[in-house]
């Protein structure tokens, strides 16, 4: 069987392509994404049937939030600590860290984002299947934190991807993260199939 061979890049080509991607994304994301919260205020068109279905569905979605692996920096260790015995995210059915973003529901952006990393994060986000949520964990994820003035740091993940919940702290304590996750739960609880379809 003949397999269509794609153009094989040399290492230098690969680096150049990566550099171009980064520059393009950088030029493209000078403004933060608006937070996707509008639907909270909308007057929801609900009917009895949908409400029941919504309730069941939203319960399922928030009871089984599988985090994607995106652990760039320091906050990752607080995230792991939150996942470990003491704080135990597994109680909420979150202990399955899906290495493949396709199977994950939640991205917890634990750590500083640099421009070099930004295309990868965008790609992971794009690879995640709908519905998906993002928690910005820590000061760096919210605004760049202590590194805002640096030449290579993205001032906040919301330049790259829309964020649902912001958890402040440098790094946030696991309790804070769990609080953030509970906030996300309550946010998910207010989703509706009726609005989702639009």
């Amino acid at each position: 069987m003949e397999v269509a061979r794609e153009h094989i890049y040399s290492d230098a080509d690969l680096d150049r392509v990566e550099g171009n991607q980064i520059e393009a994304l950088k030029a493209h994301s000078q403004q933060p994404f608006p937070d996707p919260d509008e639907w909270l205020d909308e007057k929801l068109e609900r009917n009895i049937l949908l409400i029941t279905v919504d309730a069941a569905l939203n319960w399922a979605r928030r009871s089984s939030l599988w985090p994607a692996i995106c652990f760039p920096a320091c906050c990752a260790f607080e995230l792991i600590a939150a996942n470990a015995s003491r704080f135990d995210l597994s109680r909420f059915g979150m202990e399955i860290l899906r290495a493949s973003p396709r199977q994950a529901d939640l991205m917890i952006t634990a750590g500083t984002l640099t421009w070099k990393m930004a295309p990868q994060v965008r790609r992971i986000y794009d690879q995640m299947a709908e519905p998906k949520w993002v928690i910005a964990m820590g000061a760096c994820a919210i605004s760049g934190g202590i590194f805002t003035s640096s030449y290579s740091v993205v001032p906040g993940y919301n330049r790259i991807i829309p964020i649902d919940v912001y958890v402040p702290g440098c790094p946030p304590r696991p309790e804070a993260l769990i609080y953030g996750i509970r906030m996300l739960h309550s946010k998910i609880a207010r989703r509706s199939l009726g609005t989702e379809a639009k």
Binding site: A60, S64, A84, S85, S90, A99, S100, R102, Q103, E130
Partner: protein, 372 residues
């Protein structure tokens, strides 16, 4: 399923009382549905057992928020996953990518057609039941390879190749281990095998049990042989590119296969549905859970082997031992056809201990060597 209906129709008349209402097809449909629902419930239960059990073994609680004791956790998982977006990668082979989960998942359920839940309580009492199990169980590997190929992802491909390699190698010791049981029982029908177990075959065939357990774990890729979805190496292995419903099929397959292998082990070696006091189906389920628990236990404890070590284990360790086991069993059957089983138990245990000691001296995994 439909393929087997002709086989089923022969077996059907002997297993169901003739005075049941309705025609043959109705019965067939009804029992198929019952078996599938039963198997899927068992699978859900096993997901819960694994996540809770693993949680406890890892010094944490495990899911306990969804429903009482977190019992509804698998339900939530399933609901959520079924309604997630289904992504087909742009460069994927669409048909293969679509078909792979079905091909992988169906065989795991089909195995239950011949597993007895009580005396004669099975969908089809095939005379060649165990052969059917072996044949069907290896079909999953094709689905896995299709998944790996169809995703057009290098991780998937590597995982799928590992999966095929392990299935091909482990089929042999597994079948040889089964052959020992068949010799002792004198039948290939799973029901007859259970009926022949006045004492569980784990005592008569201790080595066979060990080989079958290891081989079975490897064949369904349970840890420490979970190479094809090796978390720390290949992200998610063959199902890296799958999401939504199709991923759910793979996720369920993983457990359905585990349930199936546990059920086969319980049937072949632990006396199946036989047991005092409790109803047969409960005994059966308890035994299945016991076997599965051992699998969870090994998964949480043991590191993963390397692919060449996996092969070496099959060909250098399990294969010769399985052959010896078969020969020893055959000799025992020939020489003392009517020997009291209780005399054979210590003999076989001694043989097992001796062989394992011998082989562990002769043969060491790895230690810096690449075996293949």
């Amino acid at each position: 399923m439909i393929l087997n209906s002709s086989l089923n129709s022969i077996a059907y008349s002997s297993t169901l009382p003739p005075d049941w209402p309705g025609g043959f097809w109705w019965h067939w449909l009804l029992f198929t549905v019952i078996i599938i629902v039963f198997a899927l419930t068992l699978v859900m239960g096993f997901i819960w057992i694994e996540r809770r059990g693993m949680g406890r073994m890892q010094a944490r609680l495990g899911p306990n928020q969804a429903g009482p004791f977190g019992l509804l956790q698998p339900v939530a998982d399933a609901l959520k996953i079924l309604l997630k977006e289904d992504i087909i990668p742009a460069k994927a082979d669409r048909i293969v990518h679509w078909l792979a989960p079905v091909v992988a998942f169906a065989p795991a359920l089909m195995i239950f057609a011949v597993v007895p839940f009580g005396d004669g309580a099975m969908l089809a009492d095939l005379d060649i039941g165990i052969l059917y199990v072996v044949a069907i169980a290896s079909i999953s590997a094709i689905g896995i390879f299709m998944a790996g190929w169809g995703s057009s992802n290098k991780y998937s491909m590597l995982g799928a190749m590992r999966g095929i390699a392990s299935v091909v190698s482990y089929e042999i010791p597994v079948v040889l281990a089964i052959a020992g049981v068949v010799l002792v029982a004198g039948s290939m029908s799973l029901n007859q095998i259970v009926l022949a177990q006045d004492i569980p075959f784990i005592l008569l065939q201790p080595l066979g049990f060990l080989l079958f357990f290891i081989g079975g774990c490897a064949e369904i890729n349970r840890s420490p042989f979970d190479l094809m979805e090796a978390d720390s190496e290949l992200t998610a292995g063959f199902h890296t590119e799958y999401s939504g419903m199709k991923f759910a099929m793979f996720y369920l397959m993983e457990y359905a296969e585990a349930v199936a292998i546990s059920a086969i082990i319980a049937t072949l070696f632990l006396g199946g549905w036989r047991g005092p006091l409790l109803p047969p189906w409960l005994w059966f389920v308890l035994k299945v859970i016991f076997v599965f628990f051992i699998m969870v236990w090994t998964r949480t404890t043991l590191p993963r082997v390397r692919i060449d070590q996996l092969m070496a284990l099959a060909w250098k360790f399990l294969f010769p031992l399985a052959l010896i086991n078969l020969i020893v069993t055959a000799i025992q059957i020939l020489v003392w056809p009517d020997a009291l089983p209780w005399i054979l138990v210590p003999i076989n245990l001694a043989i097992m201990a001796l062989l394992i000691l011998l082989w562990s001296k002769l043969f060491k995994l790895g230690w810096g060597r690449v075996e293949v």
